[in-house]
Symmetry: C2
Subunit: 280 residues, 2 copies
DNA sequence: TATGGCATCTCACAATATGAAACAAGGAGG
DNA sequence: CCTCCTTGTTTCATATTGTGAGATGCCATA
């Protein structure tokens, strides 16, 4: 019952077992606790038997583990293995780490590296300062693009039609009262990002959380990632933001250079850019 | 044709589609290049149609991506997402990183953090020194346990029956002429690890590569991980090993303390150990 | 010993995945 | 310009494959 569980887009191809197996994985990914076979089957609206059979196979392949003689089920480490392979091709991650560390050192705030993946900001790497307010993010986590600094730093350099497409598909959900919720506002904000060279998340996703992000370009000049610092509003105050932004931009530019970007000291050259429009 | 493709262990449950889908993922994980639909179907001995259908579904769920309008297929970033969730529960990784960095700082060599997963050493984290000989390992990669320092540091604290079981299942494959290939030799070596508090990989997996590893314990005293440094034989020379081992052990002990181990300053008390032979 | 929660197994049924073959879309080369 | 070849996409009849009700087994706790 309740067959086509969400997933919206009517797609021509379906493979029931596969979809169910993946639903299991997603459920395990979503839950802190480690659900039991029956909890799982209830949550998915599937039969004990069915879920059991799938779990056994998934376990054979290490995509799923059991707590130890009995407990619940959880994601297996094979996924970590595969996931590591999936990001290995973007060696961004390894190359960016020193720069993130430098950023943490210079600002004392948590630093992130993200890429745009299917309209959301996917966090590839995070470096935290020794002791700090806990920023509620994790490596591998997705974040909405329209209300995060990393997200906006990426969106700002997307061709307009793609941007429109994303807005239409993802919507602009409100997380706090500061969240931007109309396309017009968002575009205005992105224009500011292009002019200043950095993006700000002013408590748009979490009440007390502010972020400052800047784009990272590869050898071809394309924006392929963004980095940011994140901290509580009482440390990232309005008057400090320009100064901190300068540091973030500098670091992002260094990383861009590492990736082969020989920018004509072009857009957002920190010092002097903001005279003309930077143009979409 | 060729139905039960390897996977040996005759297990009571089988779900064909799932197994095939996972075979696709494994193939994509194993290949540097990004194979095309037909290459994939040939390699798997499956029909174009079948593979295509599976790929489309896998792509819907982001487990697989295409190169961009046309190229080959490759692993999708959803796997990274799931994989990150899978290791999040062992927060080992984040907590260990500073110690690995310290280790790199103090020794100038590449540092690794591994756990024992199904008889192999799974690399959870790696930190490299600024410029160094490239150590051929990656985060997420599995390594044989019997011929690596991280592996032996873990094996040494396994109950004997489990060890025997592992040896029987994994075998002791030779990678170089230094690789230990008999259970007796291995056990002798592991005894030495227990006495000295550290394990050495003396070019047992790669001709020029040496490693020094030490176990990490959690609050309960159980060995849950190991850390190591790895470098070329001309830097990790016999005479330097005891000194370097001391550093590795100290760092491992600090990490153990961080994890809540209030060890009775027990085995391998760092200070006085090394008078014996360094062995091997 | 009874009880309940959970995992595992069996089996008849039909829904589901399968793969042959036809079609479409490019690209390369003559 | 046309043909040939490679790769991806779609369709459809078929029986292989997955399904789920229910029975059984297992191990706790009461």
């Amino acid at each position: 019952m309740t067959k086509g569980r969400g997933k919206g887009r009517g797609s021509p191809y379906r493979v029931q077992v596969l979809e169910r197996a993946l639903a299991i994985l997603e459920t395990l990914a979503g839950n802190e606790s480690e659900p039991t076979l029956i909890e799982l089957s209830e949550r998915l609206g599937l039969h004990k038997s069915t879920v059991h059979r799938l779990l056994v196979v998934l376990e054979q392949y290490r995509l799923v583990e059991r707590n130890q003689q009995g407990g619940g089920y959880r994601l297996g480490l094979k996924l970590f293995e595969l996931g590591s392979k999936a990001v290995a091709r973007l060696d961004l991650r390894e190359r960016a780490r020193p720069y993130l560390e430098q950023l943490v050192y210079e600002t004392g705030e948590t630093a992130h590296l993200c890429i745009l993946d299917h309209g959301e900001a996917l966090c590839l790497e995070k470096v935290e300062p020794p002791r700090s307010v806990r920023v509620p993010t994790n490596i591998g986590q997705r974040h909405p693009a329209h209300c995060t600094a990393v997200g906006k730093a990426l969106l700002a350099f997307l061709p307009e039609p793609k941007l429109d497409d994303l807005i239409k598909r993802q919507g602009l959900r409100a997380y706090t009262r500061n969240t931007i919720t109309t396309p017009a506002q968002l575009k205005e904000d992105l224009e500011r990002v292009r002019q200043l060279g950095y993006a700000v998340d002013n408590e748009e996703v979490e009440e007390w959380l502010r972020c400052i992000g800047a784009p990272v370009r590869d050898y071809s000049g394309e924006v392929v990632a963004s980095i940011s610092i994140a901290g509580p509003n009482f440390r990232l105050t309005d008057d400090k933001i320009p100064m901190l932004a300068k540091v973030v931009i500098e670091t992002a530019d260094q990383l861009s250079a590492e990736l082969g970007y020989r920018g004509a000291s072009s857009q957002a050259g920190v010092g002097e850019v903001s005279q003309g429009q930077v143009g979409l």
